[in-house]
Amino acid sequence: MAERALDRVAALAWKDALELLRDRRSLALMVVSAFLFPLLGVLVTGLQRQQAAVVAVVLCDHGEAAEKLAGLITDALEGAPGLRVVVVNASGCRAPEGAVLAVAVPPGFSVNASSLGKPVIIKLYKVIGSPAADTAEAYVSAALQRFSQSLARERVERLAKLAGVHVDPGVVLSPLRLVSEEVTPSGAQASPIEAARARAARFLAFAVFFVLNPAAIAVADSISRERESGTGELLAVTPLRGWEFVAGKAIGGTVAALVAGGVDAVAALAYGFATGFQGADAGLIAVHVVETMLAIVVTASLTILATLLVPGQRAATLITSTITGLAMMIFFSVLFIDIKSLPAGIKALLYLVPYTHTALAIESYALGDVAAALLHTLVLAVLSVAALAAAVKAYRPDRLVKRS
């Protein structure tokens, strides 16, 4: 009996997988979307190199200090993609037209710089709404910081000479020495490998999202198409039972997720090679695979449940967006928020969302907290079973047919 039921599940999953694998357009879109982020990066970097935004250093002072500052700014901007520096000798000391950023060195700059107590003023003109100006400002600020440090050092040395004392200008200017060390949540010293694993875990938790999206779309689409095309009516009269339908559709969705996940993995590896990504060892990847599979089961079950309850193709699309939006919200939060440090009420709400446990299980394992990883995996497994059970309960033959 069980063998017959399993064969029916396999038949439905086989049919759904076959339909998907023969849908060349959808497959092509999956490949394109997997490489969309790396392509976006390449596009932005490429366009940045093509731009020729001008950064002007307007010299209204021709003393030694002014020339030194101009040299530092020119050096800092040399090689910056899409930025070109021009040094302008002008008396008006205003930003020249066409420059996204201008650093004006006013008259008296060098005199003040060589004094012991006078401030040195520099004026910065920045064009609003220009991303190139923001980038240029960062480079210029770094150069100004270096100039300021060098000036302060010179002043301390001169003051010490006047006072007849010997001091280390570095210690006077930066008396606070910061000695940092990365530690595990239990307080033990973290090795560079452990630190890399923790970073990799956050990346891997975020990557789960890209696999869930195709799974949700495939499941919602396959059910609503069964309903719209009339094949659902034929399925409804076969001996296929509720749990067999849900299991078959969930496996079909998993195939879609694995196809998309495989492509994503290639894209992630390409990204990893390009950026020197480290820390994802075999154990962490194995945990990631388990958590991803459970997340797919939850997503497929929730999508089946919602698609069965709310008829219509448009509704199915909206449901998919809602479920994947929820997943996106959680996985994105994990990148920036320490969920464990949130107030109990918010944390309790987040713990009701299965995807929170996906992210926390991966993170906990990476941080060496295997017990917490197991606990989150267990909770995720329970939520997966609950979602599957709810989907099975929602199954009724009339929910597979279009209302005539």
Partner: protein
């Protein structure tokens, strides 16, 4: 048809109520072995709802329906169905359709292949079975689904508008398959808008309007009863007399 006593189908005062929409029923209907009964009515009369109640897709709110003496939910596998829509998976071949449905009904690969082979013969599609069903004409799609329904050898066969939208040649072929199914001892219930087809094909005709049976009988006796030249005229008079 072993294990199925007459009547194969008994609809005994069945009623279906929708939260929004008309009530269908109460309906009384019997279909026996070897009998071909046609359900005739205008759009919205309740034909599809009746079919769906018999198939167990819609639960009955009042009354009862028995297929081979059992409620439809427990009689799965005793009734085969061909919907009005040419419900196919366009990316699967005809043969893959037959294997897929066969696996759902048999639950074993060996039995499924035997059933699919039998269905393949009944479709008469030959080599076209290995083409994607999305490339089929409407007639070919209907033959694919009807071939499978016939291969199941269920005591009851339900057909929703089996020849609608087909060319003459395809319609003749389908009608012949349906008549043969009834002659071989199956109980056949079909819906149709084609009165001429029904007059020639059906053993008994059931007129349905506004969710209720208006009249029923053999085509010839209905023509005599209403003094009509054809079933279309008889139907109009029957419905008018019932208003």
């Amino acid at each position: 048809m072993a294990g199925c006593d007459d009547p194969v189908l008994l609809v005994d005062g069945a009623v279906k109520r929708f939260r929004r929409g008309p009530v269908v029923g109460p309906l009384w209907l019997r279909v026996s072995r070897g009998e071909l009964v046609a359900l005739i009515g205008p759009n919205g009369a309740g034909k599809t709802t009746t079919m769906r109640m018999i198939l167990g897709i819609y639960p009955v709110d009042d009354g009862r329906i028995l297929v081979c003496g059992e409620p439809p939910g427990r009689a799965r596998g005793r009734a085969a169905f061909v919907p009005e829509e040419t419900a196919i998976y366009p990316r699967l071949t005809g043969w893959e359709h037959l294997v897929f449905y066969s696996r759902l009904y048999t639950g074993s690969r060996r039995e499924a292949l035997q059933l699919a082979e039998r269905a393949a013969g009944l479709t008469g599609l030959g080599k076209a079975l290995h083409r994607k069903a999305g490339e089929y004409s409407k007639g070919m799609k209907r033959r694919l689904l009807l071939g499978f329904a016939l291969a199941l050898e269920t005591p009851l066969l339900l057909l929703d508008e089996p020849t609608s939208g087909l060319d003459v040649e395809a319609a003749v072929r389908i009608r012949s398959l349906i008549r043969n199914a009834a002659d071989s001892g199956r109980a056949v219930l079909m819906t149709s808008h084609n009165m001429l087809e029904v007059e020639r094909l059906a053993d008994r005709v059931v007129f349905i309007a506004s969710g209720r049976v208006v009249d029923e009988g053999a085509p010839r006796s209905l023509l005599e009863k209403y003094g009509a030249r054809d079933l279309e005229e008889a139907f109009v008079k029957a419905v008018a007399g019932h208003r």
